[in-house]
């Protein structure tokens, strides 16, 4: 690392004070990370390491940054999504001495410039969210491979990309699939995305969900969370899927399951959460009801084919912030929220802090794990060790004042034995 690095690039440093207050508010809901931070201050397990964290720049990731610094690391932060950056948080972090490269609403060119500026710090560890940094490193910035020990990955989408890299023998360092930790994906995607997607839709539209037909595309953890919360708000929920086992689960959970072609005709609101592209496509816009609303809760803004919709439209009207209406030649209007980007981050505040608490505790502990053992690991995609999972869950329960049972010695013996019969 040399002197040429850009120290930071953010929107407005005067927002720092507001950002600081909001970061403190989020900290209240992040007891696990607070506990780790206290331990890190004593143990300094990341002493001297530079970490590029490509994350949604929010109050919650700010708390991760403080924890990493408490562990002795120098975090360098860039945005993982142009629309999710909270400019006041970015300001607060810069005011507190962090390197931050993130401006809400930045264009694609700036987005990749920011990633490159972050990589100029020659990181030892990479915290990634969608694998854009890792992909950039492998494609364009192989110069930093000499310092990188390994990376962690936050999202399903990113893990898929990492696995593709590993399968093609292209992955150059070990990567921890933080997304696959139980205390991450079981909670973050289901409870976090579930609630925050509903929150975002309400903020954008103030629509009454009760009595509406909501079509959820994809019945993975995110889709399950969204379907469950939409039903919890009184909506009639339809699920679309490509996987027969998941589709059958959706049926058994009491949802209607239809192909998108049929669902498109009856939905009032559509939410995509598949990790795939064009799950809502031209053929679906052609049959949607007048006034149908579409939005995306998947990582990338490719799930809704907005290019096709834009070509079809004769007029586009912005009604409220994040609410754009595409008027079709036959007079029908299709309403798109947040330009098809991750709606919970673009319109609401992303996952609630108490969910991020566990995800980021995983990130922090995965970084420590890589710092300690990463140099010995062959380049591949690794799960988060199970003991990290249990530790985080136990800390979380304790922070909620909840005690659980422990196995008695008699019960432990029973579980390991095979000699008991009917």
């Amino acid at each position: 690392m040399n002197g040429r690095v850009i120290p930071y690039d953010i929107a407005d440093l005067t927002l720092a004070e507001q950002g600081r207050k909001r970061i403190a508010w989020a900290a209240r809901e992040m007891p696990v990370l607070r506990l780790l931070r206290e331990r890190f201050e004593r143990e300094r397990p990341l002493e001297g390491l530079r970490i590029v964290a490509c994350v949604h720049v929010t109050t919650e990731t700010a708390n991760l940054a403080y924890a990493l610094r408490a562990a002795g690391a120098t975090p360098v932060i860039c945005a993982s999504n142009p629309l999710s950056t909270q400019d006041d948080v970015a300001a607060a972090l810069v005011a507190d001495g962090f390197h931050v490269y993130a401006r809400r609403g930045e264009d694609a060119e700036t987005y990749y410039r920011h990633i490159n500026w972050a990589l100029d710090h020659e990181p030892h560890l990479i915290i990634d969210d969608g694998a854009d940094v890792v992909t950039t490193v492998h494609r364009d910035r192989r110069d930093v491979l000499q310092t990188v020990i390994g990376s962690t990955e936050e999202t399903t989408t990113g893990v898929i990309r990492l696995r593709a890299l590993a399968r093609d023998d292209l992955l150059a360092f070990p990567a921890i699939a933080v997304n696959d930790a139980m205390t991450k994906h079981l909670f973050d995607n289901r409870y976090g995305t579930g609630q925050s997607t509903i929150d975002a839709i309400l903020r954008a539209t103030n629509l009454l969900l009760a009595g509406k037909t909501v079509v959820v595309a994809g019945y993975g953890w995110c889709g399950r969370g969204i379907a469950l919360r939409a039903r919890g708000m009184g909506a009639h929920v339809i699920v679309t899927e490509v996987d027969p086992v998941r589709a059958l689960e959706a049926v058994m959970d009491g949802y209607r399951v239809l192909p998108m072609r049929e669902a498109a005709r009856v939905g009032d609101l559509f939410v995509t959460a598949t990790g795939n592209l064009h799950v809502i496509d031209r053929e679906h816009f052609l049959v949607m009801k007048n006034g149908a609303i579409v939005c995306n809760a998947g990582h990338f803004n490719v799930e809704i084919n907005l290019e096709a919709l834009a070509e079809m439209a004769v007029e586009r009207i912005v009604h409220r912030p994040f609410v754009e209406e595409y008027v079709l030649p036959d007079g029908r209007a299709i309403v798109v929220l947040a330009e098809g980007r991750l709606v919970n981050l673009a319109v609401a505040e992303g996952h609630p802090a108490s969910v991020m608490d566990m995800s980021f505790a995983n990130q922090a502990l995965a970084c420590v794990y890589l710092a300690q053992r990463g140099r010995q690991l062959p380049a591949d995609v690794y799960p988060v060790p199970a003991e990290i999972d249990r530790e985080i869950a136990q800390l979380k329960l304790e922070s909620m004042g909840i005690a659980i049972d422990r196995l008695t010695p008699e019960q432990e013996a029973y579980l390991v034995s095979w000699q008991h019969g009917t």
Copy 2:
């Protein structure tokens, strides 16, 4: 009415364009009112009548104002709650020629001055929301009694006050309890307040509801809606009640029922919806958990005893808009949302338009009813006629594309007969 009237008093006329767009957006979700408006334009059933509408000045009431004007009336609008006024809507209405007296955040003195300025128009009809206008008329402005034909009342609280007036033989004109219409209270309080209260809590706090213990005070229609939606978001819900029948319903609906004294010890979030005062009082603050959040979904800001809390507190910190922390001498913090005012109106956008659609269709048709028959009615509190209810429900279903069964002649005959046996 003479020339001395103040034409309007609002915050910022330049917001009119934004307000207009948002009013149009809301109109999409108000198909019943749109249909009535079209009929009113033909029939002009309120020709020449002045109507003082003391309402939450929002995009939805704006649509009511347009419908009333289409019917031939001159609506005069004042705010029914100092915190709920949407200044851009007020601006749009003034720009369109309405008399509006409403500024967001106005103090109590301004609030009553606005009511008085509205009454200076010497209305024929009063649309009230909490009975503040009717109370003011009876106490201070008996001069307008010569023009007033009657009033309509939107809220449970207001109806209680009107009934008290009628019981004491003080009511000077007929009042229609719009709140009691099935298409109002069955939908507005349950589905509207239910969703918008959750919406407001999320906007104010970004709290993860899943896994939280939410205490709902009161199991009337509002409380039921809030409890149902809180559970729908994954919360563990406790209900408090004073009525044994309602308490038993809450139990049977699967909620825990506790006295507030016990609920206070375990709740993470408290929502009051009782219509009564001090349901959360000093004794409850004394035992709440550190960080407990309290808010109010009832009409008046008396349900939480904030005076007591302020006296107990050694410090007050505003964390985010609408989020104020009261620090107690023992270090515990109690967080109050929106100063204890109606949280869904103060923090979110009030009821979604599609709920207000039915409430305001009731208001509009109740005004027509009073215009046609009000002068013949003795001063008393009256229900909305049942045929109005059925008409509104039918229009709403049609607007959603939903058909229902009709009784066959054979079935109608069966229902009226008593001669069938086992």
Copy 3:
């Protein structure tokens, strides 16, 4: 009353011991009735009165009979439904000295003969369930009018028939609509019928409800309970209605609402709860899926047009008890449960005891009320007095160990006042 009365007519007296045990089991879940019985033993409020109770002869009504006898009355029991009689209970009651006329599966002729034998006792009070006794009295047995003080009615259907009688000025004595008590219809129909209908369907068919499309005809209290529980078991629920307000509530509660003609095509299981006739008719059988199952949870077995189905069928096969398959000419099979009779009584055990506890506490207290004031009341249909409702709810809560809040003097004063403002 003379010596000519038949003392009893039941199936098998040797079942008495089994019946006694089951009655004792039910008593555990009937704490309100137990409390009343203890009070009745001291106060003897029905001393010397003969009461014809036309009820489902079950363990729960047996407990009512004991309570009435404890109050000093002589209960005379006949069945209100030929399929619901539990022969062991009838035996236990006879063994304990009661007059009982009920045999499971009795034909229509026997059914009415039993009613007449019961009436031979010249009752002072009638407890009715569907108004068959009251109808018989008015049509065929006007001789008993000289002793009858009044009657109570358990069901919605019966109340409709009584109101029809009253409207035509034919009702000869006062009748208490026990069905309309809040502690009856809010609990009995919703929670009792809801659970026991599901219970009956499972016992009859062992069908997996998860993933099935269940069509509920009627969204009154019974229909709501059934829809809620079917959804609670994982079914996808469709509601049919003729009332637009109820239909709209069903939509807002998240159900699909369709006309029966469309629902018939997609349902796997149909449950009628409308109180009307032929809600499932020939036209619906014509389009149902092969293997569709139909059953009835309404009072009378007229809701499904079984005559039409029998005419259409080329073969009928009984698969399991209560499960009859009608094979249509095109090879499709329609499965009918319990011959279209009240499925929860015919197949399962009727309402659980803890629901009946409140209904029958209402019956007992309504009898006391009639004994005390019935002779002064004009012939009409009356509600259960509100204080009875509150008393029963309070007793029930106490029996569950649940305490609730009480209004403070300050709160009571607030509620009656109209002088508080914003």
Copy 4:
């Protein structure tokens, strides 16, 4: 195999006709197995193989037996649980030429004698349910190891025992963990056990679940299903767990989580589903409410410490079939259902056919897999191949008339690519 085998041992051959009807009824809900059976008749993939199937002898396993025979095998059937045998089904199978060793209520000695008689057939394949046959083979009947190709295992408990055997290098042949197939454990345990446990509790007790506090011990797939359905019936559900991740999921799903010691004080009904022993133990009985009901939904009857309860009790009363009350010295009564055995099998009819359909399709296809490749597989525990899972789910959806989306070539390309970015 020689002539000394006992051909069958069942309770009553005259029940065959009734059994045959019920087997046919179950077949209607088993479309996947029906399809496989048709294919097997053409392909005969198990020609000449003897299969010992130790299963719950029910209408559903009867259908599995027919499918296996259609494939060319000779199934030999013994009971996997003394209380679950349906004697009419056993009779129908014998009447149709199968070897069956099963009598409802047989004692432990008979149970193992039946297993041994079945093993006398010298099977090539073993279908096991709890690993009792495999354990017996390894311990006492090593003589049959010469013919056995491999086994399949239906339950979680059995898989745990097999893994223990494999870990100790004692397993003598390959075993397929059918329980771990997604189309088995995701459906069978969650939806099947969930519903049938509720069904059994209602049949045994006729208890109103609404308003009751239900304690579910264990939040694995079975526990989740039971908790979900109990809540769906209106109960207030408390979960106990020893695993912090599962406990946290239960909290986030809106349940209260308590240690059993505390839950024991407040529960009305307890259901164990942990797979462990004595999860309800002496210390819990000591604090339970009078009238508390306990039952078990786990595989073995060890989860409730009935020996301890029997020692504590001063009296035992059987109230209804399967309902036994233990009276404690202080007068409190604890009610035990079905002697602590698997309540859904002992009291109700086990899993509904449509769930078993998928489990047994897995069993049948796992047998075919072992027949084709088992001789080449080292002795170990193997998962069901993923393509079997997808095939079964797809067949099931088709049988329900449900179509789902398919990936477009564009989407397939997207999913495998790692080169797409933000």
